[in-house]
């Protein structure tokens, strides 16, 4: 099992159990999850997000490849592309995360960073929200990002791969082939939404993720367990697809 959606670091608006990387590691292992993509929550708040990436690289070292680093990149800040190159080439990070509502820029401004990610062969993770918007602190963005701007990015940058986390897949038209969904907000047993999505976009385009430590992991595990797919597809969603995407 590989979890595409985990974080470490302090969240300023609520006390979150298990936000230290050592606690998260133990938590993941308790569910027999044997790898996870991880971002540093501090990267949402530091003016210079690169410091959060350097902190993360240091924190990941004792865990012997368990964690795959996800760089927090702020395209609106100085040296974003240099930071991205350093994160991938020197720190070994496997993806970037863009959070335009926290870094306060329109997604169109991320063009150069997305192009560079594509050249470097790493996917771009875009969360719909960090915590549920209905319980937002007054300093947080007023609403979730939504899928539409991510669909637009997929069309504008067809050679880049995008992973949409913490959102639903509600969309009338066809899904772009460079769009991947993390499953923690998708329904499974009720109405078969997750099964239907997997049938629609393929098991290699839906990724197991929990949102830990913000969220408890059990419901994502239940979602994957109860969807009507083959064992091979379950393995793909449960980790193989994410590992392929991250070149692990």
């Amino acid at each position: 099992m590989f979890d595409i959606n985990t974080t470490t670091g302090h969240w300023p608006f609520r006390s979150i159990p298990g936000q230290r990387i050592a606690e998260l590691y133990e938590y993941m292992r308790g569910f027999e999850i044997d790898g996870a993509a991880i971002t540093n929550t501090h990267g949402l708040f530091y003016m210079n997000a690169q410091d959060a990436n350097i902190e993360l690289a240091e924190a990941m070292k004792p865990y012997d490849g368990f964690f795959a680093g996800v760089a927090s990149i702020n395209p609106a800040y100085a040296a974003a592309e240099r930071d991205l190159e350093l994160c991938v080439q020197k720190l070994g990070f496997r993806a970037i995360r863009l959070t335009p509502l926290y870094h306060n820029y329109p997604l169109e401004q991320a063009g150069e960073v997305i192009r560079l990610s594509s050249e470097l062969g790493i996917p771009v993770i875009i969360p719909n929200e960090i915590v549920n918007f209905r319980q937002k602190h007054w300093m947080e963005p007023p609403a979730p990002l939504g899928l539409d701007p991510v669909l637009q990015l997929c069309r504008t940058y067809p050679s880049a791969n995008f992973i949409f986390t913490e959102g639903t897949a509600a969309h009338d038209g066809e899904y772009p082939s460079n769009l991947y969904f993390e499953l923690s907000r998708l329904r499974s047993s009720y109405g078969g939404v997750l099964t239907e999505l997997i049938r629609n976009v393929g098991a290699d385009h839906v990724l197991f993720g929990t949102g830990a430590p913000f969220k408890s992991a059990e419901s994502s595990l239940l979602k994957l367990h109860h969807c009507d797919i083959t064992d091979e597809e379950r393995q793909m969603v449960g980790g193989t697809a994410a590992k392929m995407l991250l070149h692990l």
């Binding site: 549920n132 209905r134 007023p142 047993s189 913000f214 408890s216």
Partner: protein, 268 residues
């Protein structure tokens, strides 16, 4: 980790919904999907209602909503009906409660955000619920985002429930979805030390923040916590498992507390 709740828990999801299809009749495919989905997770009984979020819901509209619930109850004995009414129409609402509870065997009343739970306009409904000995399940939340605040200006939070408990001391109140409506920590801090035997809270909603169910148990006591999903099935079961309940806590949350509510029904 278990993947379905054990049968011995006789788990009741006491907050869920059915809906109308395009033809205005019960969407039986969706109702069947709910029956099938809950079976997978070990949920035996499902409390259903069909509330409407309009500012005012006319009697014909809420009667139609309740007819859908009655149809669903005929479809499966696993469905437990909740009667939705709008207190803007007290006489019609009380008559509809009588029809749904007494004639059609529904188990409780569902209110939405047409008024706060503590508003005087609720009194006729509260009195009727107390007379029948059935609970009122109230849509609730402490939402902090501008869109929800604008859309639901009269959504009840924990403070409204405490006021309602004092104002309507003979009525059983269930605060809906601790995980479905905003700042759950605020709600729990407000509820700390609640002692009323008429107060319950359900764990439903899509929010599965670490610790949400354990903190709920700590804040109000396990005897006041009810299992529910409000359509978020894996979230409901998942966050309950995440609380690592003792067997006694499991029993109370999944069915024991609900049975205690049902035992207070006066009209058989």
């Amino acid at each position: 980790m278990i993947t379905r709740l054990p049968e011995e828990l006789c788990c009741v999801d006491m907050h869920n919904h059915v809906d109308a299809g395009p033809d205005g009749k019960l969407d039986s495919a969706k109702a069947q999907a709910l029956l099938d989905g809950t079976v997978r997770l070990g949920i035996m009984k499902i409390g259903i209602s069909r509330p409407m979020s309009n500012e005012t819901v006319k009697p014909d509209e809420f009667r139609h909503s309740n007819d859908l619930v009655i149809d669903a109850m005929a479809m499966s004995e696993r469905f437990i009906g909740f009667c939705f009414v709008d207190p803007h129409f007290p006489e019609e609402a009380v008559a509809e409660i009588e029809r749904c509870i007494v004639k059609h065997g529904m188990a409780g009343i569902k209110l939405y955000h047409q008024f706060f739970i503590c508003d005087d306009a609720q009194k006729p409904l509260m009195d009727k619920a107390a007379e029948l000995g059935v609970p009122i399940l109230m849509h609730a939340g402490k939402c902090t985002d501008p869109a929800t605040i604008a859309a639901q200006p009269r959504i009840s939070h924990a403070g409204h429930f405490l006021e309602a408990l004092a104002k309507f001391p003979d009525t059983i109140l269930i605060q809906a979805h601790i995980g479905g409506g905003g700042d759950w920590e605020w709600n729990l801090r407000t509820l700390e030390g609640v002692t009323s035997n008429n107060y319950y809270i359900d764990i439903s909603g899509s929010v599965i923040d670490q610790g949400i169910v354990r903190r709920t148990i700590e804040a109000v006591g396990v005897d006041r916590v009810l299992f529910a999903t409000d359509m978020s099935l894996e979230e409901g079961v998942g966050k309950l498992l995440a609380a690592d309940p003792t067997r006694e806590e499991f029993m109370k949350i999944c069915s024991g507390n609900w049975k205690r509510i049902v035992s207070r029904r006066r009209m058989r």
